[in-house]
Structure formats: structure tokens, C-alpha cells
Amino acid sequence: MAEGILVFAEQRNGHLMKAAQEVLTAGHTLAEESGTGMAAVVIGPGADSLTDDIARYGASDVYIADGDAFANYSGLAYAEAVRAAAAEVDPGVILFAADSMGQDLAPVVAAKLQVGNGSDVTEVHYTDGSVTAKRPVYAGKSFVNIAFKKSPAVLTIRPNTYPPAENPADATVQNLDVAPSENALRVKATFEESESERPELTEAERIVSGGRGVGSPEDFEIIEKLADALGAAVGASRAVTDAGWRPYSEQVGQTGKTVSPALYVACGISGAIQHLAGMRSSKVIVAINKDPEAPIFKVADYGIVADLFEAIPRFIEALENQG
């Protein structure tokens, strides 16, 4: 009978992604809960250098798929490697990160295996062979509890919900003998690194977002300065991206990114329902807005009713003073 956990350990250039550490942590939690074990599959150039890193998060078997066919990401080819690992492990649960690669790959694997896929899961349980999970719908305006009816259950885990925790294991390493079909390699990605030094919105521990109250694209510099002082990512409201002040990739909300950082600082954002949906699961929310009636203050843990152009320089100064 299928049991145990298989984790897709996402890596880039021989570097284990933080999201992968989180998914391995979720997998370890499930393995403990169900009294089973955890295996991981790692794909692409540099994969073989990561077995120690992966074992540190509790995987007792690590499967490697490397070679030219996996040098560039292709959903269909990577799915063949994950299936090859699944054929070895016969897992009850397969976990991915709910990031760009995981959300592209998990549904392909699920469709190939003819099973269901739970997306962006914030909590998962595995007891007596059955898998249940909690996940946001309507961008987090509500949550559903889902039950899987087919095995294995394929899930993507929302970033920042399972903080990485080390649980060292002795791992057995195996190379997978898998050669993707030509069909699977029809389309593959070339990756171009962004020039920004700032953290990625969906992975960031801290985010500073600006809204219409910032006033103009040029004035967004003040948001960037605070973000850099905090080591934070920059976000924006829909009004701002629709006006073309900032790229859509920075939009937080129901038609943008859903984020859950430890600290979210909303500056000049009124707090439309579709924006709140995208950020209300942040652990601590700070609002700076000169309108005391702005709905953002209803979800903020700490609010300052003030002009952001007066408050933010003081914020940066205070951060610098504390060293």
C-alpha cells in the first residue's frame, strides 16, 4: 500500500530554495504524524551537491535526476523525473512548494497520476492513510478543508507557513535512471536572473507596500528606501500597478500576489477588500495613512495616522539609530 512522503526539493544552480526547506519541514511533520518516512527528489545541475542539505531536513532517501535533459526547467520532463521517484517510493503524499515552479509542475504530475492536487495549502494532515488539508480560497477571504479521494495526494505548500526546521537524517542516495521523451522536451525554460537585490515578494520576511497615497511613480522612491532599510521586498496596490507606476509583478491582492510575511507595512494604501485578501495573513501589519477612516486600520496591528512623507523618513531614521 502506498504510504510515506515524497518531497520535490526545488533547487537552482546547486542552491536549495528556502521554499524547499519549508516543504521538507512540512514533509517531516507529516512523516512523524503518520509514522512513515520521507524521501526527496532533486532535479537538475548541482542536484548531487545537495544531498546533505536535504538530509538535514529529515529525508531518509534522496533521488537525483541530473543530466542534459534537466539542465533547463521543463514541466513535462521534470514531471517524468518526479514520477520515476514516485515509482520507487510509492508515496501516499507528494509535496511541492506553491511557487512558480511548484505550481507549474504539481498539476502536471497530478494529471499524469490521475489524482487530485491541493494548491497553496497552509496546513496538512496524514493519518490512517487519509490526507486532509486546509487552503485559502477567494484569495484568503475564506478557507476550505479538503479531503483527498485518490492516492497519492499531490499538494503545494504555501511559502512562509512551515518555518524551516532541521531534523537530520542519514540519507541513502540514488540516481534515477530517467530519460525524458523528446515530446517532454519540446518546450523548456531559459532563466534570466533579475537585477534587483531585494527579496522576492512571495518569499519575503518583510514587505513595504505603497498605494495611491504615494502620489506618483517618482515618489515611490520613499517606499523603496524604507524597504531597503528593512531588507524588505517592495509591494504595491492594484491602483498603483493599474496606473503603470509599478510593474504588475509587485501587485499584492486578489488579482496579484498573496503574501504572508512576518511584517507588512502598508503606506498610503486605503485597504480595498481585494488588497486585504492578499495580505491579511501577514503576521504583523503596520498601516501608515493620513485618512483615519481608511479600512486598512481595521486589519492593522499598529497604525499611524500621518502623512507617509513625514512618517517614513522618521521610520528610516529610527531603524538607522538602532543600528
Binding site: S100, A111, V115, V187, T255, R280, A306
Partner: protein
């Protein structure tokens, strides 16, 4: 060129969610329904491709008769015809079942390219496009923000963590559209009038015998404790920083 666009009717993003009596769906009583915003980008991209290369745009939707209004929106934008796969309960139905029904219908159609939205803003699953592509054995590029065609060759890019991925390939292929791909057009009055006369074929959705996963219950997010206004001028900022450091422990 034969262009297909898979669309869904969804509650608009201003909807305030309240849970219905069944305990596992939302109360749709006062909800305004719209064409899923990400599907609008798919429809627009299909129309631009048709304008450049010629052909026909067909929109497909799995849903009840009431979902016809979202299909009419796509037809008013300029799509040529619709196919509705009739099913009563699709709001939070599992993506594998939805993709299976679409694949079943599309297998008997001629197509060069298929567009989907990257996700529907109700279920937020991010799955139907890649699943459908897998079932049809098509290459898939998801969450596309830029797409160019040169005959049947394409170059597609998407934003990923820390950068950008670019894919090149040949049609047929499936793309899921992200915001930023294009600016969807508004339907002109003439388009709205014409849409009423465009054909929408209806047949029953062919789902797998069993759902792959089911929604057992719905709940509201935990209430956050009421926040505090730290102050009403910039002078309150030092106190804010102190609270973030000592009380919230996030600095």
C-alpha cells in the same frame, strides 16, 4: 488559426465572503458575477492573435446556465462562438474533474492554441491549464506575461522567483495568462449586441466517476485581535519602532 479559450464565471473581487448554510460554499445571494479576470487576459490574447493571423476564437466553459453571462462577455469582446459544458456545481469542484471535462470536449475539436487564465479567483487552484495541457499531451507555459508569435513559433516569458523564464517552441501549445500580458479591451455596444446572436453550443460535462478531492467544510480566517493606533502624527514613529521590536518582535 483555431484558438480556444477556457473561461470561468466567478464572483467579482469586491465580493464580501459569507459562508452559505451548507457550510462549505459561499452565500451567492448578493454576489456580482463576472468573467474571471485572468481569463480576460486569455480572451484578449486570443483576439490579438486572431487579428494578426486570422482564424476563429472559441470560448469554452464548464458551468451552469447562469455562467452563460460570462461567455457573453467574451463573445462581446470579439470571440466567435461558445461551448458550454453543462454542470451544476463547479464553483469549488476539483480541478482534475474540470480539466478532464474540458479535455474530453476539446479532443473532438481542431485547435492550434489554447489559452486559460492562470487561475480562477474563486478556487485559486492554478491547475486547470497545466492539467488540461498534460491530458492533451500539449506543451504548457503557465503564468505568461509576454507572448510573441512568428507563424507557428512562439516565445513566451513568465516571472519567477528571482528572475524571468523564457520559453520558445512550436504550436500547438497551451498558455495560462497572468496579469501584465495585455490590456483586455472593453466590449463596445456593437459587440454586446452582436454577442447575443453568436452561437453557444451546450452539452453535458463528462466528469470522471469520482472526484479526486472534495471540500468538506469552509471557515472564515481567524479574527485578528483589534489593532492599535500608535499615534496621529509622524512623532509616533519611534514608539512604533519600539513596539515592533519589543512587543511584536519582528525587528
Amino acid at each position: 488559426m483555431n484558438i480556444l479559450v477556457c473561461i470561468k464565471q466567478v464572483p467579482d473581487t469586491e465580493t464580501k465572503v459569507t459562508i452559505a448554510d451548507d457550510g462549505k460554499s459561499i452565500d451567492e445571494a448578493d454576489v456580482n458575477f463576472v468573467l474571471n479576470p485572468y481569463d480576460e487576459f486569455g480572451v484578449e490574447e486570443a483576439l490579438q492573435l486572431k487579428e494578426a493571423a486570422g482564424g476563429e476564437v472559441t470560448v469554452l466553459s464548464v458551468g451552469p446556465e447562469s455562467a452563460t453571462s460570462a461567455m457573453r462577455t467574451a463573445l462581446a469582446m470579439g470571440a466567435d462562438k461558445g461551448i458550454r459544458l453543462n454542470a451544476e456545481e463547479v464553483r469549488l469542484k476539483d480541478s482534475f474533474s474540470i480539466a478532464s471535462a474540458l479535455a474530453d470536449a476539446i479532443q473532438s475539436l481542431e485547435y492550434d492554441v489554447i489559452f486559460c487564465g492562470k487561475k480562477a479567483v474563486d478556487g485559486d487552484n492554478h491547475q486547470v491549464g497545466p492539467m488540461l495541457a498534460t491530458m492533451l499531451d500539449l506543451p504548457c507555459v503557465s503564468t505568461v506575461t509576454s507572448l510573441k508569435f512568428n507563424g507557428t513559433a512562439f516565445t513566451a516569458s513568465r516571472d519567477v522567483e528571482g528572475g524571468k523564464e523564457t520559453y520558445t517552441g512550436e504550436l500547438p501549445a497551451l498558455f495560462t495568462a497572468d496579469k501584465g500580458l495585455n490590456e483586455p479591451r472593453y466590449a463596445a455596444l456593437k459587440g454586446i449586441m452582436q454577442a447575443k446572436k453568436k452561437p453557444i453550443d451546450v452539452s453535458d460535462a463528462e466528469f470522471p466517476a469520482e472526484d479526486s478531492l472534495v471540500v468538506e467544510s469552509m471557515e472564515m480566517p481567524p479574527e485578528s485581535p483589534p489593532g492599535k493606533i500608535v499615534g496621529e502624527s509622524a512623532d509616533a514613529v519611534p514608539e512604533l519602532v519600539r513596539l515592533l521590536k519589543e512587543e511584536a518582535k519582528v525587528l
